[in-house]
Symmetry: C2
Subunit: 322 residues, 2 copies
């Protein structure tokens, strides 16, 4: 892994990232719902990264890495292994700088995801669907080509890039009491917490996680990284465990982490589709589920949510199985 051990990024790093990436990303809109606000007796602001280029916030971190590279490094191209939003994001970001991106994907990845990566010009290499195979193939490619490995979350450039979503949100709504994000590998939560702490320390940043993939919750409570293996959650973007760098950022700046049930995720996702007419992926429904659970003190609060993405297969919706 090319990750560099260094201290947690700061608001300055997030601002630098923003200046670097803003020509290549979308300043996504903020949506609200009168019905939801009435139901929750709170004011909720949805930062809609589902409308971001490639359909998720991941483009922010990917662009920050791509546009941090020297011309010499960039000429060698980049590589990663991912079956999710990071794969599309890196392919798109590389395309925007006209450099090569090799994406190692498990051979059982869905055709929708494969097509999306191919559509952004990603050079796809298939591997067996195990973590070991993914890392091994990626490592071989690095050695052969000199391509720069771009990790999905455990990298300070990625963390700073993901924090730019909150930079935009707090620029529009500086007086938030809380900001909620989902937490998988922790890049989005870490970056959000860094940005919020720097801009408005009163805005409590809270991570939200499926009960079935509660590694960040456990790690946060215990003060040490406690990974979970292959968790079974509908929120497919949140199956990964924290890395050292994201854990450090989260430990330093996050107020709390809460968990939600699988059923509550599906219910919240459907609520948002039906009432707000926006397509969010299951991972993005996790913070909404946390608000709707009734377990948090949110009355009369102003709450931001980072809606992480909208990449979901329309052929199999979670409520079809219920």
């Amino acid at each position: 892994m090319n990750t560099v051990k260094s201290k947690t990024p700061t608001l300055t790093d997030v601002k630098k990232a923003y200046n670097r990436i803003r020509p290549y990303i979308r300043n996504t809109p903020v949506h609200t719902s009168g019905t939801l606000n009435k139901d929750l007796k709170a004011e909720v602001f949805f930062k809609c990264e589902n409308f971001q280029k490639t359909g998720s916030f991941k483009i922010r971190g990917a662009c920050n890495v791509i546009y941090s590279l020297s011309d010499e490094d960039a000429a060698k191209g980049v590589c990663t292994h991912s079956s999710g939003n990071h794969a599309q994001a890196l392919a798109f970001a590389a395309l925007s700088r006209k450099i090569n991106a090799i994406i190692v994907m498990p051979e059982n990845a869905s055709s929708v995801k494969i097509n999306a990566v191919a559509g952004y010009g990603g050079d796809i290499r298939f591997c067996e669907p195990t973590q070991e195979a993914r890392e091994a193939v990626c490592s071989e490619i690095q050695q052969e080509t000199g391509a720069v490995f771009v990790p999905p979350f455990n990298d300070n450039r990625i963390i700073a890039g993901q924090g730019t979503a909150s930079l935009e949100l707090l620029s529009d709504y500086p007086e938030l009491d809380m900001i909620l994000t989902p937490v998988g590998g922790g890049g989005l939560l870490g970056g959000t917490a860094i940005a919020a702490k720097g801009i408005n320390p009163k805005a409590k940043v809270i991570g939200t996680e499926p009960e079935m993939a509660n590694d960040a919750y456990l790690s946060f409570k215990e003060g040490m990284i406690i990974p979970v293996d292959n968790p079974a959650t509908i929120a497919d973007g949140l199956k990964t465990s924290l890395g050292e760098l994201t854990f450090a950022a989260i430990s330093d700046h996050v107020f709390d982490i809460v968990t939600v049930s699988e059923k509550s995720i599906i219910d919240a996702m459907r609520y948002v589709w039906e009432r707000m007419k926006i397509i969010i992926e299951p991972s993005s429904a996790v913070p909404v589920a946390a608000l709707m659970s009734g377990s948090m003190d949110i009355r009369n609060k102003r709450i931001g949510i980072i809606i992480s993405g909208g990449n979901v297969s329309l052929d199999q919706l979670p409520w079809d199985k219920q």
Copy 2:
């Protein structure tokens, strides 16, 4: 019917409607898609009335009627018959003025729609699911209560109200070459054409209609109203035929009407859900299908589309049947 025969509304009427309704409606956002623009070699601007209050543009016309009423008339309440978006819109508009709305709905209306109307405080009366029964029950209620009948489209106040969506669109994007809308009863198409002709006569307004419910197409071509009975189209909002007043507005100001196949509607709807992450109802996919059909000369054009609404049952999506 309380409709009044009078000359077609003008841009002034649309502007007056806008001043009347703007405190009660949402100035909806305009979305774009880089992928769609690339596919079509055009620039398309989606005026997102799916994000409008009650999930469709219908609130604009309903509010224009509600807030045109004298206090004396308003005190008697309003009534309509509808199983669609007009029912929700009128209930919501009446609630905002704190007056009573009696909504006659067919007894086989979907529970989603019944719940939505009830949720906005509508006083629902069920009737047999025939046009005759709906009109008869509504007429009885008018006689008993003195409630003011609010028609869904064939009314100049409704037409002027629906035109306000284009007023907003053209205020943000004055230089459009075309504006496309779906056409059912013709209130939206008529109002759009009046607004566009007044603001930017170069912007051609084009109605788009399912082949299976092509009454507006036939009427426009023949110069006389040619209704269709109970057409079988997935675009459930477009089954109604033109009325005299909407036909007059359309004849005067619309550039053309084009039709699209059922399959193309479903494909366009899915494309928008997948790529743009917004939920649009089948009726709103009709103008998108027209653009994607390849039969129109749209190269390098700037095109506005009124996305009419987002009210769709998530339990049965059209592509599930394919």
